[in-house]
């Protein structure tokens, strides 16, 4: 069991290494090493653009919920406007990247695993190899890059929408003026809050796509195997996201960011 886990982790590490080498080669290499802009754009569109409405909806609600949850305890101290500080900080540093990543896991990660798994079952992967096309470069790299880029973009959008959600609740239910709310947010947020959130988003994107690709490429046993890989991708990715988030938060705390 332990040995098997080590082997799986080793295979995952190897795939990730080959993907990173392929990204490097695609930037400096010639024909047969390129990712293909059209392929990358198509993946970005498929993974990211389609999940914009759901990310916006979820983060708007998260901002609103946080605003309401914080209002009660802070009203006891007569500092209700400070809810803006909490919503902004929590969103930019933590909830924006994490919630966007969880949504993208269900949306893009599961789709990637299912797509690659179906390709494995349909001999498409062997067909790629038989044509001397590296599946890592052709299939994994565009999906990894697309997910990383789109998760960073979604996080920026999600951060703004979550603060807007909090602001709407603050304005209509708690009587906090828009200018007052924005002033509190601006005062609380620093560049590093934004940057640390984006660093997390990039790493989360790498995690989602690489786990999804790994699970998809390891599919065995036809349609049942594809279903299993898809559900495992979602579970493993969410667990990995939380663990890596904890590591990042601890590291940023230790470094004073």
């Amino acid at each position: 069991m332990f040995r098997q886990a080590i082997e799986v982790l080793g295979d995952f590490g190897l795939m990730l290494y080959r993907a990173l080498v392929a990204i490097h080669e695609s930037l400096v290499g010639g024909r047969g090493r390129r990712i293909g802009r059209a392929n990358l754009w198509w993946q970005m569109n498929r993974v990211g653009i389609s999940s914009i409405p759901i990310v916006c909806l979820v983060l708007f609600c998260i901002g609103a919920i946080l605003e309401l949850q914080m209002a009660k305890p802070l009203s006891n101290f007569g500092v209700v406007p400070l809810t803006a500080d909490i919503v902004s900080l929590a969103t930019f540093r933590e909830l924006g990247p994490l919630v966007s990543a969880v949504v993208l896991t269900g949306f893009g990660g599961a789709a990637i695993a299912a797509e690659l798994g179906t390709m494995v079952v349909g001999e498409e992967l062997e067909a790629l190899e038989a044509q001397a096309i590296d599946p890592i470069r052709f299939l994994v790299v565009p999906r990894v890059l697309a997910t990383m880029i789109m998760l960073v973009c979604l996080t920026v959008l999600g951060d703004i929408v979550a603060v807007f959600g909090g602001m709407v609740v603050g304005f209509f239910w708690l009587g906090i003026g828009v200018r007052q709310y924005l002033a509190h947010s601006r005062e609380m947020l620093h560049v590093q809050d934004f940057v640390t959130g984006l660093i997390k988003a990039g790493v989360f994107g790498l995690l989602i796509s690489s786990i999804a690709c790994f699970m998809g490429l390891r599919v065995k046993g036809g349609a049942e195997g594809v279903g299993l890989a898809t559900s495992r991708t979602v579970v493993y990715t969410i667990v990995a996201l939380i663990l890596v988030d904890l590591l990042f938060t601890a590291a940023f705390f230790y470094l004073g960011f």
Partner: protein, 266 residues
Amino acid sequence: MDEPVIAIKNITKRFGDRVIFDGLSLDIYRGQTLVIMGGSGSGKSTLLRAMMGQVPLDGGEIIANGRSISFMTGQELMDWRKSVGFLFQSGALFNSMTVADNLALPMREHSDLPESTIQIMVKIYLQMVGLRRHLNKMPAELSGGMKKRAGLARALMMQPQIFFYDEPTAGLDPVSSAQIDTLISDLHSKLRVTSVVVTHEIKSAFRVADRMALLHRGRFVVVGGPQEFRSSKDPLIRQFIDGLSVGPLSDPRGHEDYEKDILQLG
């Protein structure tokens, strides 16, 4: 005789307890169409994949173009694969691409030809397999036979000198089977390519073969010309060609532990 294009030398392979190849040896010569026959699960497709360097061997070696496939560098393996056309059992078209894009992919990946030239080549090869009017269709819109013909056209795009066909006529109606066989024979006669055809369809095998081999229990038990196979009195060949249910190729029924098993006597 010429140097073989591919030399299979005493290869062994096991999947768990199951022996797939047990000291298998065979030479494949330039311009020859070799048909490898054998029952389901006898290792025919695995042999093709081993010759493509997709299945690592436990022992022995496969020499292609003078180099052992097991010891080829990544680039050498890529070059070897580029020189081989492979028709998969299902056609293995990429479902997210149109037929035209499926054909264009290897050229876009491996050549510097302008897109307009690639599109012309796509039309030429689709015309060869009778699918020119279907170039904008998705694979899901094609029948089984059309998928195989499209797969064959895709394999032709890189103009390989060696072709591997994995069950090219399996699951096809007699007319589609005959069309595929005609395409294989035409390629052989017009382009003098070396072909390795894996099949268990006897009619199809005799239509295309210069040389035949019967794979059984990890070894080639018989290798010879189609005429030798037709006239052979070897019980193995007779059972395979005549499709007899009883004979040396049949799976043993395992009577020896049947009673123990059924009575759960351990």
